[in-house]
Symmetry: C2
Subunit: 215 residues, 2 copies
Amino acid sequence: MTKTVSEAVIKRLPRYYRYLKDLEAKGEVKVSSVDLASRMGLTASQVRQDFCNFGEFGQQGYGYDVKKLKTEISRILGLGKNYSVIIFGGGNIGSALAGYKGFSNEGFIVKAVFDKFPSKCKIDTVPVYNTDELGKFLENEKVDIAVIATQTKDAPEVAELIISSGIKNIWNFAPIDLNLKKGVIVENMFMSDSLFVLSYKMSHKNTGGQNGRKQ
Amino acid sequence: MTKTVSEAVIKRLPRYYRYLKDLEAKGEVKVSSVDLASRMGLTASQVRQDFCNFGEFGQQGYGYDVKKLKTEISRILGLGKNYSVIIFGGGNIGSALAGYKGFSNEGFIVKAVFDKFPSKCKIDTVPVYNTDELGKFLENEKVDIAVIATQTKDAPEVAELIISSGIKNIWNFAPIDLNLKKGVIVENMFMSDSLFVLSYKMSHKNTGGQNGRKQ
């Protein structure tokens, strides 16, 4: 069913998922494409087009069943499975991710943190190993996702290690674009980019009308 | 000079800035719009159009001066100033942000963390206060940006507190869209959205050709 779906549509899927979870938590049973569009800052026609990429989710004029649509989008996002995750870098961000329950609730299970100096890491939620021990660790564990939360200068080398060890999916927090190998998926999470967008909007508050736009 | 600039262009500015910092660090003096476009996954014409929003940064055919362009984009982003930042929530994410040097290097200075249970927070980089002490704190400090790194359920109430205390700019990590008041800028940083985009790409690896696209 899935053909080439644009990056913009893919990026909207987690937001639909978030809104639908919220509606479900509030006990809502039905939602119209107009309501959904208004929450997303889109037109109803765009919402219907987005869903058209993945099949038919509702009948025009009747609205969508909240629970069914949420389940469908969860499936499209690849959620509802368990993914085994390891984190490289046991500093501030690595520790935060290792302890964040929001990820495990969605099936992203952090199994271990790897660091060049494990004894310096203050992490008690998962085991911390020396980066050199990755090979040994992988003898007994299948890893779906490696997170790069090292210092920027160490990120390329860590990415090489991850890829050469056969892990195919990287969630990268180091503010650097990694050289990609075919077949490896890298999703970048550049927190500074978001902060800089905020400072842009602060600086242009009275000139550009860019206030408080929803993401 | 700045008119209504599209959200897509604004989101690309931090990436230009990142690339230009990288080029400068590598000692590059000039960069063509073709080179820049290739790194950004855009066309040269798009790059020129992006910059056209803000004036003229180079002469066609001569390329851009790396240092000058970086300085110009830094200025457009509102960087190169000092912003005073406070963080609500001293848990995993709040602690990580309080200790992250990448932000202070760009002028975002974390002054304090506020939490309902300060004694439970393990933060030694900045003072941690009880959320009730915000008013007192603001008698002596001007705050530019408040970061919401609380639990999701507490985020709306904290947002109310922030806005009622007169702080105009919010960087929100809680995965919830806050109700905005006119004149308040909220930039959302939804980490799960990025993780879910990764799991989408993992799930559609062999069907949609969505591998390793640059952000």
